[in-house]
C-alpha cells in the first residue's frame, strides 16, 4: 500500500492535533478497541484521534481495508468519519510538544498508551488477518510519530534506539520460541496418534513426555555430584543381582565417602548429597503443584457438572480427528453419550429399590477390602521368606525364589485390577463414577503393596544394623591386633593394608537402593512383557486365526484390545512414586527411569498404532486431568515420607556413604551451620526453630486458610445473585 504525501490531497486536511473531545460519545475508548460480540468490530483507527494525516485519502490503509473487506462495521465507521471530520476546526502544520496545551499533551499521552495496549492485545482479537495487519501498521506509525514527539526531541534518538532494540528482542524471542517448539521431541508421533485415537489417548503420551522431562532434570541434578571411574561390565547375572563390584560403584549410595571436602574444590560431599536430595524433592513438589494450579485456572475451578449438556454439544467434537473410521466411532460415541445423559437425567428423578443397590455396594466394598488385605499379607509373607533365603545364601535357590518379591508384586499389580473390575459389576454405578472407584481401588492396592514392601525392608535394615554392630566389634579387635603387631617391630615401616582387605561393614542404605532398583526393573519387564503378550500376540492371533474360526474374532470376543488410558497413567504415576522413594539411596534411579521412559515411549507408540483400536466409549479422561495430578502429588508426599523417616530416625552405617560416623543424617546441617557459616546465622536459625515462633506462625496460616475459604464462598454467592439479576433484567 503506497502512501502519498498529504498536503496536496483532498480537502486540504493537514495534521490535526485535536483531541478526544472531538469524538462523539459513541466512539469512546470502550467501543474503539472493538467489541467481542459477533457483529464486526467498529474499530476505526482514524477515529481515535483525528490526527491521522491520511484521513479520507483513497490510499489510506484504513479506507482500503474498508473497501476490500465486506464488513458492515466499516461502512458504519466511514459514516462516522465524515461526521467527526465536519466538526473539525483547528488545523496545524506540525505537532510540536511545546505548542500543545497541557490537557492536549495529556490526551496525546493517553492515546499513545491506548495504541500500545492495542498492539499488545492484537493477538487475542478474533479479526481477519488483513484487519490485524492494517491496524498494526497504523498503530505503529502513529506511535513512531507521536511518541517520539512526546520525547521532546532530544529523547528522539534514544527512543528510536529503544524501539529498534525492542523489535530485535521480540524477533529473537519469537525465533527462540519457534526453535524450542521445533525441538520438542516426538511431536510428529503424538500428532499421528491424536488423529487416529483422539485427544484422550494422546494425553497419556503427552503426560509420558512430561514425566520424561522431569526425570531428565532430576538426573541432571544428581549428576552434579562428582563421579570417578565407571564400573566395569560384568556378566548379566551378577549385574542383575547388583552385587559384586557394582555394589560399590557410583550408582549407589555407598560409594560416596564421607570426606568433608574433596581436594581443591572443597566440595562438601555430605552436605551436597543431602541438599541435592532435598532439592530434588522440593523441585518435584513445585512442578506438580504448579501444573495443578495451572489446570485449575484453566478450568475456572469448580462447577464441573453444571454445564453437562452444553459441553457435550459444544466441545465434544475432536477437531484433530482425520481418519474416517475414528470419525464414525466418534459419532457413535457422541450419540450414545447424549442418549445416556438424557436417560440418566430422567432416571435421577425416580429411584427404585435403593436398598438392594446399597447392600450390593457394601458387599462389593467388603470384597475389595478382603482383596487388599490378602495381597498385603502375601507380600509380607514373601519378603520374610526372601530374608530367610538371604540368610541361607542366595546360591542355593532357584531364580524364582531369589526374585520372588518383585515378581509377586508385579503379578499382583496385574491381576488385582481385573478382579476389581469384576467386583464392580455388582455395584451398578454410572460409568464415570465406576471409573473413579476403580482408579481409587487400584491406587489403594499399589499403595498398600508399596508400604508393605517398605515395612518388610525395615526389618531387613534392622537386621543389617545388628550385623554392623558385630562387624564393628570385630574391626576393633582386628585393629587392636594390628597395633600389637606394629608395636613389636617399631623400626619396621608402617604397615599398609590393601584397601580391599579391610573388612567393610554392611551398608544398609545400599541394600535399600539395590532392592528398589531390582523392583523397578522387574516392574518394567513385566509391563513390557504384558504389552507384548496381551496386545501384540492377541492382535496377531485375532488377525490370523480369524480365517479359520467359527465366529468372527474381530467383532466378538476377544477382538483387538483398546488402549487403557487410565490404567497406563496410573502405572506411570506409581513408577514415578517408586523412583522418588528410592532416589535418595540409589542416585542412579532417575537415570534408569529416563532410559525406561524413552524406551516406553517408542514401544507404546508402536503398540498403539499397530495393535489397538480406538475406544468405543470415549470418556473424558482428560477432564480428570487434575485428578491425575492430585494423585501424583499424593504419591510424591507418601514416597518422601519413608525417606524422611529413615533420615530422621535411623543412624547411618558407620562405614559407607557420605553420612557415615554421624548419629543422624541431618546432623550434617548442624555441623555446617556451626563451622562454616558466621555465628549470627546459626543464632538466627536457633531463634527460628524456637517453638514460641513456630506455633504462632502455624496459627497464622490456619487463619489465612479460613479467611480465603470464606472469601471464596462469598464470591460464589455473589455469582448466583448476579445470575438472578441478569434474568430479571430481561
Amino acid at each position: 500500500m503506497n502512501r502519498t504525501p498529504v498536503k496536496e490531497q483532498g480537502r486540504g486536511k493537514e495534521r490535526r492535533r485535536s483531541t478526544a473531545k472531538k469524538l462523539k460519545p459513541g466512539t469512546a475508548t470502550g467501543n474503539v478497541f472493538g467489541s467481542t460480540n459477533s457483529s464486526q468490530p467498529q474499530f476505526h483507527p482514524c477515529l481515535l484521534l483525528d490526527m491521522c494525516h491520511y484521513f479520507k485519502q483513497p490510499l489510506c490503509p484504513c479506507l482500503s481495508s474498508e473497501q476490500e473487506s465486506s464488513e458492515d462495521g466499516d461502512k458504519e465507521g466511514e459514516g462516522e468519519d465524515e461526521e467527526v471530520e465536519e466538526e473539525e476546526e483547528e488545523v496545524e502544520k506540525e505537532v510540536r510538544p511545546e505548542t500543545l496545551t497541557p490537557e492536549e499533551l495529556e490526551k496525546l499521552k493517553e492515546a499513545v498508551d491506548d495504541k500500545k495496549k492495542l498492539i499488545q492485545a492484537l493477538r487475542g482479537k478474533p479479526w481477519p488477518m488483513k484487519k490485524k495487519h492494517s491496524t498494526l501498521r497504523e498503530s505503529q506509525e502513529f506511535l513512531e510519530k507521536y511518541e517520539g514527539a512526546l520525547g521532546k526531541g532530544k529523547g528522539r534518538k534514544l527512543y528510536a534506539y529503544k524501539v529498534m532494540m525492542n523489535k530485535k528482542w521480540m524477533k529473537f524471542k519469537r525465533d527462540f520460541e519457534n526453535f524450542t517448539t521445533a525441538c520438542i521431541p516426538w511431536e510428529m508421533k503424538i500428532k499421528e496418534i491424536e488423529s487416529h485415537f483422539g485427544s484422550s489417548v494422546a494425553s497419556y503420551f503427552i503426560f509420558l513426555r512430561w514425566m520424561y522431562g522431569i526425570n531428565m532434570i532430576l538426573f541432571d541434578n544428581i549428576g552434579t555430584v562428582p563421579r570417578a571411574e565407571e564400573t566395569n561390565a560384568m556378566d548379566f547375572a551378577v549385574l542383575w543381582d547388583f552385587g559384586g563390584y557394582a555394589q560399590y560403584s557410583v550408582l549407589f549410595y555407598g560409594y560416596y565417602n564421607s570426606q568433608r571436602a574433596i581436594g581443591w574444590l572443597k566440595f562438601r560431599m555430605p552436605l551436597s548429597y543431602f541438599l541435592v536430595g532435598v532439592g530434588t524433592v522440593a523441585y518435584s513438589y513445585m512442578v506438580v503443584i504448579r501444573k495443578m494450579a495451572r489446570n485449575a485456572n484453566e478450568t475456572g475451578g469448580g462447577d464441573e457438572n453444571s454445564f453437562n449438556f452444553s459441553w457435550k454439544t459444544f466441545t465434544s467434537w475432536d477437531y484433530l480427528i482425520g481418519n474416517p473410521e475414528t470419525a464414525d466411532n466418534k459419532f457413535a460415541s457422541i450419540t450414545t453419550s447424549f442418549k445416556e445423559a438424557i436417560l440418566e437425567e430422567q432416571e435421577s428423578r425416580k429411584d427404585d429399590n435403593i436398598h438392594l443397590t446399597r447392600f450390593l455396594r457394601v458387599l462389593a466394598n467388603f470384597l475389595v477390602l478382603c482383596c487388599l488385605a490378602g495381597s498385603g499379607y502375601l507380600i509380607y509373607f514373601v519378603v520374610r521368606r526372601s530374608q530367610k533365603f538371604a540368610l541361607e545364601g542366595f546360591e542355593n535357590h532357584t531364580w524364582w525364589e531369589r526374585n520372588e518379591v518383585n515378581m509377586v508384586m508385579s503379578l499382583l499389580g496385574m491381576f488385582c485390577p481385573m478382579l476389581f473390575d469384576v467386583i464392580s459389576a455388582l455395584e451398578n454405578y454410572h460409568p464415570r463414577v465406576a471409573l473413579q472407584w476403580q482408579l481409587g481401588r487400584i491406587f489403594a492396592l499399589f499403595l498398600g503393596n508399596l508400604y508393605t514392601f517398605i515395612i518388610a525392608l525395615m526389618d531387613e535394615i534392622n537386621l543389617k544394623r545388628k550385623e554392623e554392630d558385630v562387624v564393628q566389634f570385630n574391626m576393633t579387635m582386628w585393629e587392636a591386633s594390628l597395633h600389637n603387631n606394629t608395636a613389636d617391630n617399631s623400626t619396621a615401616p608402617p604397615l599398609f593394608t590393601h584397601p580391599a582387605d579391610v573388612p567393610r561393614g554392611p551398608c544398609w542404605e545400599t541394600m535399600v537402593g539395590q532392592e528398589f532398583v531390582r523392583l523397578i526393573i522387574s516392574d518394567t519387564m513385566t509391563t513390557y512383557i504384558t504389552l507384548l503378550i496381551g496386545d501384540f500376540l492377541r492382535a496377531v492371533l485375532v488377525r490370523f486365526l480369524n480365517y479359520c474360526w467359527c465366529w468372527d474374532l474381530e467383532a466378538g470376543f476377544p477382538s483387538y484390545s483398546e488402549f487403557d488410558v487410565s490404567g497406563n497413567v496410573l502405572g506411570l504415576i506409581f513408577n514415578q512414586g517408586m523412583i522418588w522413594m528410592g532416589a535418595f539411596y540409589a542416585p542412579c534411579l532417575p537415570a534408569l527411569n529416563v532410559l525406561r521412559l524413552h524406551v516406553s515411549m517408542y514401544l507404546q507408540c508402536w503398540a498403539v498404532m499397530c495393535c489397538n483400536v480406538p475406544q468405543e466409549r470415549v470418556f473424558k479422561a482428560s477432564g480428570s486431568n487434575n485428578f491425575y495430578m492430585a494423585m501424583l502429588l499424593v504419591i510424591l508426599f507418601l514416597s518422601t515420607l519413608p525417606a524422611i523417616y529413615t533420615i530422621v530416625t535411623i543412624p547411618p552405617s558407620f562405614d559407607c556413604g557420605p553420612f557415615s560416623g554421624k548419629a543422624r543424617m541431618f546432623d550434617v546441617i548442624q555441623e555446617t551451620l556451626e563451622s562454616d557459616f558466621p555465628a549470627w546465622i546459626s543464632k538466627v536459625f536457633s531463634y527460628a526453630a524456637n517453638p514460641g515462633l513456630v506455633l504462632p506462625f502455624m496459627l497464622l496460616m490456619v487463619l489465612a486458610i479460613y479467611y480465603l475459604q470464606s472469601t471464596s464462598k462469598s464470591y460464589k454467592e455473589a455469582n448466583v445473585e448476579l445470575k438472578k439479576k441478569l434474568q430479571m433484567v430481561n
Binding site: 467481542t36 460480540n37 459477533s38 488483513k130 485427544s199 452444553s310 467434537w317 459419532f331
Partner: protein, 183 residues
C-alpha cells in the same frame, strides 16, 4: 503462486507472528489451486478443493468452517490469507477468546449472531452423524435442546449469545485441546 503471494506471506511473518507453519501451509495451499489460478496475484482456492484436505475431510463442520473464514462476498473459497487465518485460529497459540469467537460463528448456522433452537438442532444433527440410525428422536432432541438452554441461557431469552457461549466454553477443560487443527 506468484511472487506476490509468497512476498505477502513473508511480510506477515516479519510483522506479526502467525504461526510457525508458514512454508508448509503455503505448499499445501498451492496444491489446492487449479493451474490457471496459480498465476493470479491473489488466488482463491475453491471450497470443493479445500474440503478434500485430510484434516477437514472427516470434520462434520467443514463446510461451516470454510464459510466462516472466507472473505469473499459469496462466502466461497479461501485466499491464502484466509487459509492462514484458519490455521492461526485453530493453532495451539490462539487464545481461548479467539477460539470461542470462531467456534460461535461456526455453530451459528443462520449467521444471525445468536444460537437459537434451529441452530442447536442442526448442530446436534451434525454431531450425531449422517445416518438415520444414529440420529436422536424428535423427543430426545427437544429434551436435549431445552437442557442446553437451561444451562447456558443466563438471561433466558431463548437463545445463546456470544457472551453466554464464551462463559460456558471458558469453564470447559477440553475445549482448547480439542479445538485444534494441525497441518
Amino acid at each position: 503462486m506468484g511472487a506476490t503471494a509468497s512476498h505477502l506471506g513473508k511480510d506477515l511473518l516479519s510483522e506479526y507472528q502467525v504461526s510457525n507453519v508458514q512454508e508448509p501451509a503455503h505448499k499445501r495451499f498451492t496444491e489446492l489451486l487449479s493451474r490457471e489460478d496459480k498465476n493470479l496475484p491473489d488466488p482463491r482456492a475453491p471450497t470443493e478443493a479445500i474440503l478434500t484436505l485430510p484434516e477437514l475431510k472427516s470434520n462434520p463442520f467443514r463446510e461451516r468452517i470454510v464459510r466462516v473464514f472466507s472473505t469473499s462476498e459469496s462466502r466461497d473459497g479461501l485466499t491464502f490469507e484466509d487459509f492462514l487465518d484458519l490455521l492461526s485460529a485453530f493453532s495451539d497459540s490462539a487464545t481461548l477468546e479467539i477460539k470461542s469467537h470462531y467456534a460461535f460463528r461456526i455453530f451459528d448456522f443462520d449467521d444471525d449472531g445468536t444460537l437459537d433452537e434451529n441452530d442447536l438442532e442442526k448442530l446436534v444433527n451434525c454431531l450425531t452423524g449422517e445416518t438415520d440410525e444414529t440420529r436422536l428422536t424428535p423427543d430426545e432432541m427437544k429434551q436435549l435442546i431445552s437442557n442446553i438452554l437451561e444451562e447456558s441461557d443466563i438471561d433466558k431469552d431463548g437463545t445463546v449469545n456470544l457472551s453466554e457461549f464464551q462463559h460456558v466454553i471458558s469453564r470447559s477443560p477440553d475445549f482448547v485441546s480439542s479445538f485444534k487443527i494441525v497441518l
